[in-house]
Amino acid sequence: MADTSMDAPRGVFTIGTRGLLIVAALAAVLFVAALAGARYGALLLIGLGFGIALEGLRFGFAGPWRAMILRRDPAGLLAQLVAIALVALAAFPLLASNGEELFGAHAPIGVAMIGGAFVFGAAMQLVMGCGSGTLVNAGSGNVVGAVALPFFALGSFAGAYNLDWWISLGTAPVVVLSGTSGLLATLAGLAAVAALVLWLAPAQARRVPRRLWIAAVAIAGLAILNLVVSGQPWGIVYGLGLWAAKGAQAMGGDLSGSAFWSAPANAERLEQSILTDVTSLTNIGLIGGAFLVSVWRGGLAAKLPRLSPLAWTATVVAGFLLGYSSRLAFGCNVGAFFSGISTGSLHGWAWFAAAFVGAWWGVKLRPKLGLEV
């Protein structure tokens, strides 16, 4: 007969820990709402939802792209396309009828934009974490994600610092698909990509697990809420760059030499608290949500990998490149790919193509840098 003497205390401890986690998360939301305003508390709550959904349902971007490249397993990529399509179904009419109150993730295609997306795709395969993935990984105690994150923030700050120079290398006008025809074109494009990956996949792999369907709906719902509450689509990179820019300013750095950071909108963000910045709040929520799920599951007991000095160096460099390249690309997998396409920006499609090619190279490079243990 099994010894159950330890079961009851352990069970009580688990329930107590989980209860404490919920109370702490809600207290943080109420704290921000009371201190900064209801909208900002709501955005932290949305961010927590993103973190819980991404970590809890193992929905990601870098991993599924790797699975498609290496094994032609389309499940995760198909779930991404479904989530984007669901957001587009709501975002297109919302943007069309509320153009003053809401804006999309609209940006131009350009030389640096395409190059940035390519580099981002490669770097996200090296650290196995994209914009959202690096935050989730750091919150769940993944040491590679935790090391990459501060360099991601520094890279985002540095990329934004010189963004005007990169834009001057050659940038086309912004092209936005809008209205019913734009929505239909976007859905047709997503369906065409889905058909292609299904055609490429082996017959036995042509299915999406239930958890990914649930995750796609949850992520889409949260992204629509993000748009309705904040007036802008889900993003990651701006907030990270802002944290580093505030740090530089606090240490006496003069940012007036940067056209980007001295622009009125960004200068105002530098003056105001990050508790009033949309992407900062959802980023903090993402980290917190992933932490919550990891503690809830008991997943923090997993051992850390032993990596070589070369692998650590590659992690630091890739982390910096994730931030720098995503500024040039007008967003990461979230701001450009997910939110760009779902709000009709053509640059989201260019980002997807360039980043996927970069990801192929990143997958090839990863073992050479000692990052597969």
């Binding site: 919302l94 109150e101 940006a107 105690g141 040491v143 007036g231 508790l275 949309v278």
Partner: protein, 56 residues
């Protein structure tokens, strides 16, 4: 070594970031905050996004 100290360190750094930010930023005023929902607020969209190339 497990993931526990890494996750706790990350959460500690986030808390430190918020504390440092509150100490060095303009004071918060919830009474001047925008309405909870941007949709239907009648206010022009503000805020910063990574897709915005605006530098002027």
């Amino acid at each position: 070594m497990t993931r526990t100290p890494i996750a706790l360190a990350v959460m500690g750094l986030v808390a430190a970031l918020i504390a440092a930010d509150l100490a060095g930023s303009a004071p918060l005023n919830p009474y001047q905050a925008p309405p909870m929902l941007a949709l239907g607020s009648g206010l022009a969209a503000t805020g910063a996004h990574c897709a915005a190339p605006v530098v002027e």
